[in-house]
């Protein structure tokens, strides 16, 4: 080998070693935040880049540093697959050494991350998935639940609709963990208001033809049909319910309905349907309009409440780190527990120490008829509000035994 080649090789090795030394010196100084979300699967439009951008914006607005540490940000795609989510969580906690994971749509995936959070003793804040098990039988000291849960969706919409739309219900449920959880809570809410569940249809997740179930539902002549599904299933079931003329006698209540779904199917499909939401871009809370304006300027459309929830959550986490005076997970957990706050998303908001649920009020939304839509993305009208104390389950009843670290 020539002399110059040997020299180049030696320099390369020296630079590499220096590089490692330098980078390891730096890694002790950063706070590393991760978002695990669905970037290419069924929830990509609702969560995906919207939630990633929300986290990035929150970090930027915070100043990019906390307690003198730089904030490093990474994100991963789990495509709504629980095994992939599990793998990514391990990769993030162990290889990337992140201090916290945010988001995780799809409850089954979230429960996998929940496990890993406890195993690695690092924080996980579920935002976009709804299962009440995060704050129920599978609760642990490192997991928090932020934007909503199935109980809120079911109880707020359930109680309001039972009071205002009708007491005889029929449900069409997506046949998996989330659907079952929703059905449980909707039935309970309905019963509390003196209503009756005439029947339920379990539909395999992702089915494209709902006609037999809709026909069965119509035969029972309910006043309200609750569609306990999301995304593509919501669009298909609603489209077909309208096709069969179900809406002539029955009102429809959704578990989850987003502006993206309405845009995808066309507003006439969802006109006069009802749903619960933790926030809406039209809400008149302090800070809300400013946040919406900033988001509109940057992305050309208003944020949905998953995005807003992510922004709020990341910001509150960073504030908790500041309060704790350290990024140590246990210290941050203690700083989050019991914290009362008010931001544009949750006004007021409270992080319950008993089950780590962030509670706040819930809104009841009605999807507008096409003739009522005055501007782009103006799909909902806020028709009701459920206060914080009623919206979420009493912490005595959640079944959570919050352990130690």
């Amino acid at each position: 080998m020539s002399k110059s080649k040997k020299f180049t090789q030696l320099m390369a090795v020296v630079v590499l070693i220096l590089g490692f030394a330098v980078s390891s010196a730096f890694s002790a100084e950063t706070l590393k935040i991760a978002t695990l979300t669905d970037m290419s699967g069924p929830y990509a439009e609702l969560a995906g880049w919207g939630n990633i951008n929300a986290a990035k914006m929150a970090i930027e607005d915070f100043g990019g540093k906390v307690l003198g540490m730089d904030i490093e940000y990474v994100y991963r795609d789990h495509q709504c697959k629980p095994d992939l989510a599990n793998q990514k969580a391990i990769e993030l906690y162990e290889k990337e050494k992140v201090d916290v994971i945010f988001d995780c749509p799809n409850s089954a995936s979230g429960l996998a991350v929940n496990n890993q959070a406890l195993r690695y003793k690092k924080i996980f804040i579920a935002i976009t998935s709804g299962t009440t098990r995060y704050t129920g039988d599978l609760c642990n000291r490192y997991t928090f639940h932020w934007a909503y849960n199935d109980y809120v969706l079911a109880t707020s919409a359930g109680m309001w609709a039972a009071d205002n739309l009708g007491k005889k219900w029929y449900t069409i449920t997506a046949d998996y963990a989330w659907g079952h959880d929703l059905l449980k809570h909707f039935s309970a809410a309905l019963q509390k208001r003196g209503g009756t569940l005439l029947g339920n249809e379990m539909v395999p997740l992702g089915a494209s033809d709902f006609s037999p179930f809709i026909i069965k539902a119509m035969n029972a002549k309910p006043e309200v049909l609750a569609l306990l599904n999301a995304g593509k299933d919501t669009v298909n079931s609603t489209k077909q319910a309208v096709e069969f003329g179900l809406r002539k006698q029955t009102k429809i209540v959704h578990a989850l309905l987003f502006p993206e779904d309405i845009k995808a199917a066309g507003p006439e499909v969802f006109a006069d349907n009802y749903v619960t939401a933790s926030w809406d871009w039209k809400v008149d809370q302090p800070g809300s309009k400013e946040f919406v304006a900033k988001w509109m300027k940057k992305f050309g459309r208003p944020p949905n409440w998953f995005n807003a929830g992510n922004y709020s959550c990341v910001t509150q986490y960073l504030l908790a780190v500041k309060r704790a005076g350290s990024k140590d997970p246990q210290a941050v957990v203690k700083a989050l527990e019991g914290h009362r706050f008010s931001d544009f998303f949750a006004s007021p908001g409270y992080i319950r120490p008993e089950d780590h649920m962030r509670v706040g009020k819930a809104y009841i939304l009605r999807a507008k008829k096409p003739s009522e839509i005055k501007e782009a993305w103006d799909y909902f009208q806020i028709v009701g509000e459920v206060p914080m104390e009623q919206a979420y389950m009493n912490s005595k009843d959640t079944g959570c035994k919050m352990g130690d670290f």
């Binding site: 395999p204 494209s208 489209k239 069969f244």
Partner: protein
């Protein structure tokens, strides 16, 4: 579960079956004539729906125009695909063609996702067919009845074309022995292009017809593709009547499954296919030489 509901469900099965019939007609023609297993068939079905959406949303807001233009555009696309790319792969082992169609499926799906987003696009039933007919004991959507009618006409049309016209005879001969047809002086490669185009056109037609019923998104073809293969296998690969009967059978199995045991409804068709193949590997009307 009363008798009215059962009748309704069986009728529903026909509707579902109709979509399968048109989709499988294309698949079976392509396989019968060209020996190609077209993994991209579901993606072409989806693409057809999006072509129709684009026509309606940006060019001429008329469903009937889109219903005619959509399949024509898809047929041309299919023909171009065959003429410029597939043709070069015929000399290679069949695996290469399968890989190509699989890759094509991924490309088509992601292309649509990039252009239209992952949530899907709105697609309404045409106003003429909006609403439902009062059948006495319940209302049944007009559009679904239209579907059965148009599918019957299409299947009849394809069958008549293939059995009564000269071109149809050439295609059938080519299916049996393409080398001999070539030796007889007929430009077999042009026939191949035509057949592939026709198959894809049928897939596109199925897409446009199904669009008002479901969420038109880039993944709408994925579920249908596998079921389509089941139909073609049950009916006999390469057989027209096989696709028609097979498609209706599969539709009815799913409909009955949904009545009796919903979580297993979709799985039942695979069980049926497996059992059927044990008894009769060639399918209902398939050719013996292939399988036995």
């Amino acid at each position: 579960m009363n008798i009215q509901f059962v009748i309704m469900q069986l009728f529903n099965g026909l509707i579902l079956g109709s979509i399968y019939v048109i989709l499988s007609l294309g698949l079976t023609i392509i396989f019968g004539m060209l020996g190609i297993i077209n993994f991209a068939h579901g993606a072409f079905y989806m693409f057809g729906a999006f072509v129709a959406y684009t026509i309606i949303a940006y060019l001429i807001p008329n469903f009937w125009v889109a219903l005619v233009m959509g399949p024509i555009v898809m047929a041309l696309l299919g023909a171009a695909c065959e003429a410029f790319i597939l043709r070069r792969l015929y000399n290679l082992p069949p695996l290469y063609v399968m890989l190509f169609t699989f890759g094509l499926m991924l490309v088509l799906q992601d292309f649509i996702r990039m252009v239209y987003g992952a949530a899907g696009v709105p697609f309404r039933t045409p106003s003429l067919l909006d609403g439902a007919i009062n059948l006495g004991f319940m209302f049944y959507p007009k559009y679904r009845i239209f579907l059965i009618i148009i599918t019957s006409f299409c299947s009849l049309g394809v069958w008549l074309f293939l059995s009564k016209t000269k071109l149809g005879a050439i295609i059938r001969a080519g299916t049996d022995n393409s080398i001999m047809v070539d030796a007889l002086g007929i430009n077999i490669s042009r026939i191949f292009t035509f057949v592939f185009g026709m198959g894809i056109g049928l897939a596109g037609l199925a897409g446009v017809l199904a669009a008002p019923l479901q969420n038109v998104s880039h993944l709408m073809g994925v579920d249908f593709l596998v079921d389509c293969f089941v139909v073609v296998v049950i009916g006999g690969m390469g057989s027209i009547s096989g696709s028609i009967v097979g498609g209706l059978i599969v539709g009815e199995i799913i409909a009955i499954g949904v009545m009796v045991w919903p979580p297993m409804a979709h799985t039942l068709i695979y069980i049926f296919m497996a059992a059927f193949l044990l008894i009769r590997p060639r399918g209902l009307f398939g050719r013996e030489a292939f399988h036995e």
